[in-house]
């Protein structure tokens, strides 16, 4: 049986019966394994480099200096310790300011992994066991490019002028580019006090790195657990860099979804090709039955043949996937990790499983009909099998899709919503395609013979035409969304911001600096900014009940409950805030322990109006009553807070101040003198951050577009499968028409007309769908008015006409080359 099925495979391959099936399979497996290989490498990199990613075996992380008792405990057990402090600040070279990410490190850092440095840009770097000496700074090469500096130049950080002594090319706990908006500068921890950068309430991350034997570390963990720490977080190797893992998971889901579109389209091509394959094998099956093959033997033989095909196509697909993932890695270069390990076997298994499930799921239902071919067909050709029940076909397809999707995204809820969404999209597109085809009928009487022939073909093979239009429509729609519409959305959003929307944030301002800073801007002709005080606090109780992250299921809520809130005193609500419950306080309420919460936060944490909430402010517990709930428009770039309290409540608590303001291009030069006067203050240029975000988005989009290229290829496979399915019929028709005197050129023009129209319809549909989606995204998700872009429709139609027109004519041209007499003698 194995040998026989293998021979059948070879015979059918030779006869050209399996090519579309194989190509569709290869496309799907390549797409899936390319994504699989890439995410596998990042995932594996995260696991392998876990200890490196926190630069130690254990890390205690906090927003304020780590409680000394912890370090004492570690030292008492003989563990080694080191410190790092990280924060954002503005460095100044000459008069040029630049946002940087400062990391101050102590001797011993890093315990895991190594620092790599070089003396000059573009030279071979080397590992070092040292850290920057006092008054020296190691800078990331891109900082020097940005500021036009070189090694040996000086760089002002806070109150100290540092000498750039080395270029820092690698630090183990940095992660990838996605998380480093500003370039890194590394200094010695001993210099930190002298820089005066760490003011009260500044956004700083303090870390205590611990190194030692596992057994001792375990004991240490137990000891610090008993200290019931609130402000400190313990990070061990297994919990290293959760944000990296979340980002990877998102990337995996998104790229996985993108690849699943190719799988779906490949499935359609496979189902179409398999239907033809089955039809063309009715005679073989009848002969097999006649020569004594049982029904089970027939189905087993064809199943084995399909299995061989799946294995061979998957092997090719996996190999191509390996090449394609190199392209993705190149596009997303260093976004996640600076170096990626070799891929494992997991994506290979995934590739093969996709191939087998896809082929069996989509091809087997039509092939099952072969089991039912009556042996009597050898005597009477009109005997055809009872058609396989359509529910069987659809449930096979549905189950295969759902299981592949689940494997890609590991999220049942997402599988359900994506399958539902796909079903709805496909139904809507199919209905629209059907309506368009019906509309074409009205045109038929007004066009020449060639066009009439082409349009008649579309109408006659209506269901095939609908499938082709939808398949291409989907592919083109996604490309339109990713290319044109993405830019439209970004531009639209930027245009929706007022001209003078704040473009700079100033943070870490100390109470005694407020007046000076307001005066500074006043003197330089900038509208005096309103500074907001904020006091850091941790939510501890709701209505007297202690809260913990275990009380909530959603990740957002868990994150909210563990983060520090900024309580900001204000007499009046911000202009863009809307009170949705309760009422704002009166001047007579000032000094009373009331609080205003952002409405979504209150819902998420299940806090209601008039509830009591307790905050730990610098070790003291304070209870506030919810006086009102507010809706906040976070997109205005105005300073807003989740938690606002009346003035006078927090006067005794240490506050830091923050503001946002609009600086005209010519006023940007004010930043350098401001930072020189107030070294601890950090100025963040929104435009710089935006361009950074845009460049990351560009790369991620490019990677997604790359994956969607496969869906376009799969769309082509659908077209060729449909062409192949109609080939025998087309050949016969063209023979009849030519016998009746139709010239070859007329028939060729007819084919052009058919496929150009199909392409135009698919493009039109894609343009319409992409615009609708963009409009929904703009109005409903991002809340800004969407500007319709007629070019999208035009781009869709052009893409469709070129792609489908050329491919279609290429695929069907051969029906015109065979002499009519040969075709007529063979019959259909």
């Amino acid at each position: 049986m194995l040998t026989f099925s293998w021979r059948l495979l070879w015979r059918d391959w030779r006869g050209g019966e399996l090519r579309i099936l194989a190509v569709a399979l290869i496309i799907a497996v390549t797409a899936v394994s390319a994504v699989g290989f890439f995410t596998d490498r990042v995932d594996h990199g995260l696991q392998q480099q876990a200890a490196e990613l926190i630069a130690a075996d254990l890390v205690v992380s906090a927003a304020k200096p780590v409680t000394p008792a912890i370090e004492q405990g570690a030292k008492a057990l003989g563990l080694q310790t080191a410190h790092t402090i990280q924060f954002r600040s503005v460095a100044i070279a000459g008069e040029k300011p630049q946002l940087v990410e400062v990391k101050a490190v102590s001797d011993g850092y890093p315990f895991r992994g190594e620092l790599r440095i070089t003396d000059a840009a573009f030279t071979q770097d080397r590992a070092t066991e040292n850290i920057p000496a006092s008054h020296e700074v190691w800078a990331e090469p891109r900082l020097l490019q940005m500021l036009g500096l070189s090694v040996g130049d000086s760089l002002q950080l806070g109150a100290i002028s540092f000498t750039i002594s080395q270029l820092l090319t690698y630090e183990p706990d940095r992660g990838g580019d996605m998380f480093s908006v500003a370039p890194r500068v590394m200094i010695n921890l001993d210099d930190i006090a002298a820089t005066q950068l760490l003011g009260q309430g500044a956004l700083v991350n303090y870390r205590l790195l611990i190194d030692g034997e596992q057994a001792v570390l375990d004991q240490f963990r137990k000891e610090i657990k008993s200290l019931k720490l609130v402000d400190e977080k313990i990070l061990s190797v297994s919990e290293a860099r959760p944000e990296l893992r979340v980002a990877l998971e998102r990337a995996q889901q998104f790229l996985g979804l993108a690849s699943i579109i190719s799988v779906l389209l490949a499935g359609v091509a496979i189902a179409t090709a398999a239907r033809r394959f089955a039809r063309r094998h009715f005679d073989s099956a009848a002969i097999y039955r006649c020569f004594g093959a049982t029904q089970n033997k027939i189905i087993l033989t064809f199943s084995l043949e399909m299995l061989w095909l799946a294995l061979i196509a998957s092997t090719v697909g996996v190999a191509l996937g390996l090449l394609a993932q190199a392209a993705i890695s190149q596009i997303l270069d260093k976004l996640f990790l600076t170096s990626l390990p070799a891929p494992t076997l997991q994506p290979v298994i995934m590739g093969y499983a996709t191939g087998v499930i896809l082929l069996l799921g989509f091809a087997m239902p039509p092939l099952l009909a072969l089991r039912q071919v009556p042996p009597l067909r050898v005597l009477r050709r009109d005997q055809v099998p009872v058609s396989t029940r359509s529910w069987l076909i659809y449930s096979g397809v549905f189950l295969s899709m759902a299981s592949l999707l689940y494997w890609q995204v590991h999220d049942l809820k997402m599988v359900v919503s994506v399958m539902g969404g796909m079903l709805a999209t496909i139904s809507i597109l199919s209905l629209a395609a059907y309506a368009l085809i019906r509309l074409l009928a009205t045109l038929r009487q007004r066009v020449g013979v060639a066009w009439r022939f082409g349009l008649a073909n579309i109408a006659r093979r209506q269901s095939d035409s609908v499938i082709q239009i939808v398949a291409f429509g989907l592919g083109i729609m996604v490309l339109l969304l990713l290319s044109t519409v993405r830019n439209d959305l970004l531009d639209g959003w930027q245009k929706s911001l007022p001209e003078d929307a704040p473009n700079h944030f100033i943070i870490n301002v100390q109470t005694d600096q407020v007046k000076g800073i307001q005066q500074f801007f006043n003197e330089h002709g900038v509208q005096q900014p309103r500074l907001h005080a904020m006091v850091r606090a941790r939510l501890t109780h709701i209505n007297g009940r202690r809260v913990s992250s275990d009380d909530y299921t959603s990740d957002r809520a868990k994150h909210m409950i563990t983060r520090e809130f900024n309580l900001s005193p204000a007499g009046n609500p911000q202009a863009d805030n809307v009170i949705v419950a309760g009422s704002w306080w009166q001047p007579t309420d000032h000094g009373k322990p009331l609080i205003s919460l952002e409405a979504k936060l209150a819902t998420r944490l299940r806090i209601n109006l008039h509830d009591n909430v307790s905050f730990d402010i610098n070790g003291r517990e304070k209870v506030f009553k919810i006086s009102n709930l507010r809706e906040v428009d976070w997109q205005t770039f105005n300073i807003n807070f989740f938690t606002v309290v009346p003035p006078g409540v927090l006067d005794d608590d240490p506050a830091s101040w923050v503001t946002s303001l609009y600086l005209k291009p010519e006023q940007k030069s004010l930043i350098a003198p401001l930072v020189k006067d107030y070294p601890n203050v950090t100025v963040i240029d929104v435009e710089v951050i935006m361009s950074q975000v845009r460049s990351i988005m560009d790369r991620v989009t490019l990677a997604v577009e790359f994956i969607f290229l496969f869906s376009l290829l799969a769309g082509l496979a659908v077209l060729f499968a449909a062409i192949q399915a109609s080939q025998d019929e087309r050949r016969y028709e063209s023979a009849v028409l030519r016998t009746l005197g139709a010239r070859r050129s007329i028939l060729l023009r007819g084919l052009f007309a058919e496929f150009i129209t199909l392409g135009a319809l698919a493009g039109l549909l894609a343009g319409f769908a992409a615009t609708t989606l963009a409009w929904i995204l703009a109005e409903q998700v991002f809340h800004f008015p969407y500007q319709f872009n007629p070019l999208i429709g035009l781009a869709g139609i052009t893409t469709g006409v070129l792609l489908v027109g050329i491919a279609g004519v290429l695929g069907t041209r051969s029906v015109l080359s065979q002499p009519p007499v040969v075709t007529l003698r063979e019959g259909v």
């Binding site: 039955r289 006649c290 004594g292 033997k297 042996p375």
Partner: protein, 227 residues
């Protein structure tokens, strides 16, 4: 005809076939009774629409009778399910068709190998080559059916029918699609192989001359046997 116990013995007992149409039941075959001793040849004669092909289909177990029984080697086909009948065919039955029924995607050699492969023969290629050379197609082993003439196609089909050494061979108008000269050559070949292998031959035809070559003739008219 007397009952015989040797293999290749075919018997029809009160055999009938009727189908339901929109205008009521339509009788195609009615009360057919005959026996074919092993190793002999029978011609089923009749005009188009007389039920020849239906009878052949029932005898070969390709179709199910409405009434009566078909016995091959004393096995009642009616008591076998579809797969049981297939297994019986695999071991004992061969076919030659009017329209040859060669699979267009397979070469002559592969077409002949097919029944051997289905019966899990250990050397399908050797056996197929052997029989193809026997029917004079040794030069045409790797040709596809479309590259063979009508006579060559039927010779190939005969080679395929005899490849698995069947006990009973059913032939449906084997010369129906061939010219007179070619048809005669094909018939000579068929009977020659039939004699060599001692096969029971049951042939449906409307050609009196061809029927005359068989030991027994059965005349079918309007679905009934007439003498």
């Amino acid at each position: 005809m007397d009952s015989q116990q040797s293999s290749g013995f075919v018997q029809a007992i009160r055999l009938g076939k009727q189908v339901t149409t929109s205008e009521g039941p339509l009788v195609i075959l009615d009360d057919i009774n005959f026996s074919v001793p092993a190793g002999t040849s029978v011609a089923i004669l009749g005009a188009s629409g007389s039920g020849k092909t239906t009878l052949l289909g029932l005898l070969a177990g390709l179709d199910v009778a409405s009434t009566g029984r078909v016995m091959i080697n004393d096995i009642d086909l009616g008591e076998l399910d579809e797969d049981g009948r297939a297994l019986l065919r695999a071991g004992s039955v061969g076919f030659v068709f009017q329209n040859f029924q060669l699979l267009s995607g397979l070469t002559a050699l592969e077409n002949v190998m097919l029944p051997l492969e289905l019966a899990s023969d250990s050397k399908p290629k050797e056996v197929a080559k052997d029989i193809l050379s026997r029917v004079g197609l040794v030069e045409r082993l790797h040709h596809y059916p479309s590259q063979l003439s009508g006579g060559e196609q039927q010779r190939c089909a005969i080679a395929r029918a005899f490849a698995a050494s069947p006990e009973v061979l059913f032939a449906d108008e084997p010369t129906g699609n061939l010219d007179l000269t070619t048809g005669k050559r094909i018939i000579d070949l068929l009977f020659e192989l039939n004699r060599e292998q001692g096969t029971t031959l049951i042939m449906a035809t409307h050609d009196e001359a061809l029927a005359g070559l068989c030991e027994t003739r059965l005349n079918l008219q309007g679905g009934r046997l007439v003498q």
